[in-house]
């Protein structure tokens, strides 16, 4: 599904930094999920094979911690980027956080959510979404929440000697449960709900590679984010946001990477289902 002819210019939705960070997230998240789940589901034969493939539980542990560091770095990078964005494009936090392109949920999201449910059941038209839909905002804050919860408990487990100077020994057990179950939530959510919402939705099937190329056809912007399109047209800034699409070889490479990530993600979902339904102890 090429993104239009080479002569057509496309709308740039994500900056290079965003795309790099998302790719980094994919790699670190998959690494964390694979290495972490081998331990969580150590009672399955899968886990034993995987653990050996990953080079043993100690190597898996190093991979897990390295990936955690990468993910935390991305998290910090994003916060820094927010500061830069505020300085360059918005001027004030108020404009950034309460403006139409804000990630923060607002009253309009509630209205759009209600309108969407109506549309689902055939009681109204499809709402005219803005730059960020409510489910995209939900995904965004799920990652925020996840990194905070999993990251903090993960550090406790990484440095138990340090943390037990402040906390009782049983807190390590509590941290283990939180870390492990929150991770299950994160992997489960990303590999099913997020995959569906962005890639497997019938109208986008099999995948939407906007997050990798940063570009989306103008028609798609008009259809999916009409409010943003209109605002851009109204402000006359649409022209600034257009760029040439990538050559086919780049697109192919991106697709290969995305397919690989999807495949790993779905395998993990199958493994989790198997572990929970058939091998749970």
């Amino acid at each position: 599904m090429p993104e239009g002819g080479p002569e057509e210019r496309q709308f740039v939705r994500f900056t290079r930094l965003h795309r790099v960070m998302h790719a980094g997230m994919i790699i670190s998240f998959l690494c964390l999920a694979l290495t972490g789940l081998t331990l969580k589901f150590s009672y399955t034969g899968w886990a034993v094979v995987l653990s050996h493939l990953l080079g043993g539980f100690e190597t898996a542990g190093y991979i897990h911690r390295a990936a955690a560091v990468v993910m935390l770095a991305i998290f910090v990078m994003h916060l820094v980027d927010l500061f830069r964005l505020k300085r360059r494009e918005y001027g004030t936090w108020r404009a950034l956080l309460l403006g139409p392109n804000s990630m923060l949920p607002n009253r309009r999201d509630v209205a759009e959510f209600a309108a969407t449910l109506k549309w689902f059941v055939g009681q109204g038209p499809r709402p005219a979404y803005g730059r960020w839909t409510y489910w995209e905002k939900f995904d965004y804050f799920a990652v925020f929440w996840g990194i905070a919860i999993i990251g903090s408990t993960g550090l406790t487990l990484w440095f138990p000697m340090f943390f037990t100077r402040l906390l009782p020994g049983w807190f390590i057990n509590v941290a283990t449960i939180i870390h492990s179950d929150e991770a299950l939530l994160a992997t489960g959510f990303i590999f099913t709900v997020h995959f569906f919402n962005t890639h497997l939705r019938p109208e986008k099937f099999p995948m939407d590679i906007t997050i990798f190329t940063g570009r989306m056809p103008l028609e798609e912007l008009k259809r999916d984010k009409p409010r943003e399109y209109e605002a851009l047209v109204a402000s006359g800034k649409l022209g600034e946001k257009l760029d040439q699409p990538y050559p086919p070889i780049v697109i192919k490479t991106i697709r290969a990477f995305a397919w690989a990530a999807l495949a790993v993600g779905f395998s993990i979902v199958l493994w989790i289902l198997y572990a929970m339904l058939f091998a749970y102890r």
Binding site: M1, P2, E3, G4, E7, E8, T38, L39, K40, S42, Y43, A47, V48, S51, H52, G56, F57, E58, L117, W119, F120, V121, R126, W135, P160, M161, T164, R165, L167, P168, G169, W170, I172, N173, V174, T176, I177, I178, D181, E182, L184, L185, G188, F189, T192, V193, F196, N197, R201, P202, E203, F205, P217, L218, E219, E220, K222, R223, R281
Partner: protein
């Protein structure tokens, strides 16, 4: 066996006169020399005895004992003639004193030891006394040899124990066909017959030499002990002393065979008298071993010699014999039924060789063992001594050529115990492919690959001669005995184990407790530092400690172990292996005093707080671990809630999404058609379907 006729008398009258004089003189002497009478022996003794004899003097007096009529008649004449004739009845039957007469209850057996303390003490130590103590019904007491009321002085020729009578007293039990000879382990045959034909028997019975050796001369009267007992008068080291009591200076006539100096300096290296002069068969002729064996080999050196009954070869290889452990043992020492007075001495042999004649203790073990029991039942598969030790070529277990040398034992036992062989076929237990497993085990590798002859072989655990099944409480591999059996080599471990909670003594528990083999297995024992052993041991602990093992596997330590890595703590890393104690025990590695140090073995710098980590935590027990339980269910609620909401959202979305997909496709097709017609595609026109031309 008739008593030999007295020596022929030529001048009857003179002898009678001499005999009369002799008896008269002797009688006065014995009367004068009789011991001081005991307290009861006063003038009133005879009066008292009258009272007893009022009843017991009646020849018809009987009582019932165990349903049998027993005579209670006491011959007053014989009694007064006896050596105890001057005593009152109560001197021996002390318990009748003060009783109403006639007494109803039978009197207690007389205790001869009141006066004859020394003799009684010897008897108690002897074979006979020990048999009495065991309650052996065949065991002889004082009265069985000495009689009771008519005991005569030993020098009286009519005494039951006078030299001339001794062979007959002993022979009452120790002759062919008696219950004693048949049912008790007595390794000599035809004792009385052989004795009567020996030089001693001839002297006593044919020539009336009362100074010649009787049974009691060699075996002692009261302290009769088996030759295997070092205290016995016929023990190898004492036999020379026993013989030289009569044969003083016998060394003077043995100069040809024995160097004089050895008699004093190294008496222990000399052959014992009986090595040449067989007991009970001693004759005047001069014996050497070589001669005796040479006699046998006249026939048995012939390779063609066969037994007429079944054609079995009777050839005895002298080369084989010379190299064997028994090189210096004469044929007749094993083939003991031979009779030198026959032309073919072996024709009197009726039984196979009984090795236990010399190897007495081993024989007793063997008889009780499974092998011995099978032989006792005449099972054709039963292994006797020769099955393992061979016959004339028997070698010591220190000889590498011997089938019983350490490195040869597994193959020796495998002859029957390998899968498919006769012993393995009748075996119904759980141990299979024993030989194969043993060969791969640490013991088998140590023995067969590293050549360590001190490694445990089959016999180290099962014993060589007392092999018994595990179910038998006497067995060396019975659960109760396993720690001691393993402890014979692994003593340090046994010491630890014996004090652990797993040891019966320490645990004071009725539950079935593990022994060495429950964790280490019996035949497949591996090195404890092998990864597979380390991982399997947790499941072994879990066989009994099911719940606690399950919770262990819910923690980090357990999960890593499940993945097949040994680096994280396993049961024994924290609880100890052989010295495991209840965690409440101050000696436990996990007691309050020790737990931090135990954690520090892996987690250097661990603190008491750190040691508060719950190593057997489970989030399934709300009472024990409420915090974990509620954390888990809180997280689960969050997880389920999120998935339910987003799941419903997605499902509701699906129909609309499919609808959109259909519309987009239709528009794309329409656009493609119109483009083909017009061949114009203005990029700025708002027609979203145009680019959807995939």
């Amino acid at each position: 066996m008739a008593p030999a006729a007295p020596a022929p008398v030529k001048t009857g009258k003179r002898v009678t006169m001499f005999l009369g004089l002799f008896i008269a003189l002797w009688w006065t002497l014995t009367q004068a020399a009789s011991p001081v009478p005991p307290p009861g022996a006063t003038n009133t003794a005879s009066e008292q005895n009258e009272t007893c004899l009022a009843c017991h003097g009646d020849k018809g007096m009987t009582t019932e004992r165990a349903g049998r009529k027993v005579s209670r008649f006491v011959d007053a004449k014989k009694f007064s003639a006896s050596i105890h004739g001057s005593f009152s009845c109560t001197a021996c039957h002390a318990d009748v004193e003060g009783k109403d007469l006639p007494h109803d209850a039978p009197l207690a057996p007389v205790n001869c030891g009141t006066c004859h303390a020394g003799e009684q003490e010897q008897h108690a130590r002897s074979l006979h006394g020990r048999a009495v103590a065991r309650g052996d019904p065949l065991a002889p007491r004082c009265v069985d040899c000495h009689g009771n009321h008519e005991i005569l002085p030993v020098k009286n020729p009519r005494s039951a124990v006078a030299p001339l009578q001794v062979p007959f007293v002993c022979g009452r039990c120790h002759r062919e066909g008696t219950p004693v000879q048949r049912n008790r382990p007595i390794h000599q045959d035809n004792i009385l017959e052989n004795y009567s034909e020996s030089i001693h028997g001839e002297g006593l019975l044919k020539k009336g030499l009362v100074v010649t050796a009787t049974c009691a001369s060699c075996h002692t009267a009261h302290l009769i002990l088996p030759h295997t007992d070092p205290a016995s008068s016929i023990a190898r080291r004492n036999i020379a002393a026993t013989c030289t009591r009569c044969h003083a200076q016998i060394e003077a006539v043995h100069r040809k065979t024995i160097k004089g100096a050895l008699w004093e300096k190294e008496a222990n290296v000399l052959p014992a008298c009986v090595d040449c002069h067989q007991p009970h068969k001693i004759r005047k002729v001069y014996y050497t071993q070589g001669m005796a064996d040479a006699d046998c080999l006249r026939c048995h050196a012939n390779e063609q010699l066969k037994r007429s009954r079944d054609g079995q070869s009777l050839y005895v290889g002298t080369g084989e014999l010379a190299k064997s452990r028994h090189a210096k043992v004469a044929c007749s020492q094993c083939h003991s039924e031979v009779n030198a007075s026959h032309v073919r001495p072996c024709e009197t042999i009726t039984r196979p060789v009984d090795c236990s004649s010399c190897h007495d203790e081993i024989g007793q073990q063997y008889v009780k063992s499974t092998h011995g029991q099978l032989l006792g039942r005449k099972d054709p598969n039963a292994p006797s001594c020769v099955e393992c030790h061979a016959t004339h070529g028997v070698l010591g277990k220190q000889d590498p050529q011997s089938p019983t040398f350490a490195t040869n034992i597994p193959l020796l036992c495998a002859r029957c115990h390998r899968e498919g062989q006769k012993a393995a076929m009748r075996y119904t237990g759980r141990q299979h492919e024993i030989i194969e497993h043993y060969t791969e085990s640490i013991h088998g590798k140590g023995l067969l690959k590293s050549g360590l002859t001190v490694t445990a072989t089959c016999t180290s655990c099962h014993t060589a001669h007392g092999v018994l099944p595990r179910s038998n409480p006497e067995s060396s591999v019975n659960a109760n005995n396993v720690p001691a059996t393993c402890g014979r080599c692994h003593h340090g471990i046994q010491e630890q184990f014996d004090n652990s909670i797993h040891a019966k003594r320490a645990a004071k528990s009725g539950k079935e407790l593990p022994v060495c083999s429950d964790c280490h297995t019996a035949h497949s024992i591996r090195r404890a530092d092998e990864a597979s052993f380390k991982l399997e041991i947790m499941d072994r602990c879990g066989r009994c400690h099911q719940e606690i093992a399950k919770t262990y596997f819910e923690t980090y330590h357990g999960k890593v172990s499940r993945l097949g890595y040994t680096k994280t703590a396993k049961c024994y890393d924290c609880h100890g292996a052989h010295d495991v104690q209840a965690v409440t025990d101050p000696r436990s590695h996990l007691s309050r005093a020790n737990v931090v140090a135990t954690c520090q073995k892996c987690h250097a710098g661990a603190t008491r707080r750190f040691a508060g980590y719950l190593t057997h935590a489970t989030h399934h027990d709300p009472r024990k671990y409420p915090l974990l339980f509620f954390t888990f269910w809180g997280m689960t609620a969050l997880l389920v809630g999120t998935f339910v909401v987003s799941g419903i959202h997605t499902l509701l979305w699906l129909p609309r999404a499919f609808q959109m997909r259909r519309e987009l496709r239709a528009e794309a097709e329409k656009a493609a058609r119109s483009r083909a017609e017009t061949a114009v595609a203005p990029p700025a026109t708002p027609a979203p379907e145009e680019n959807k031309n995939a």
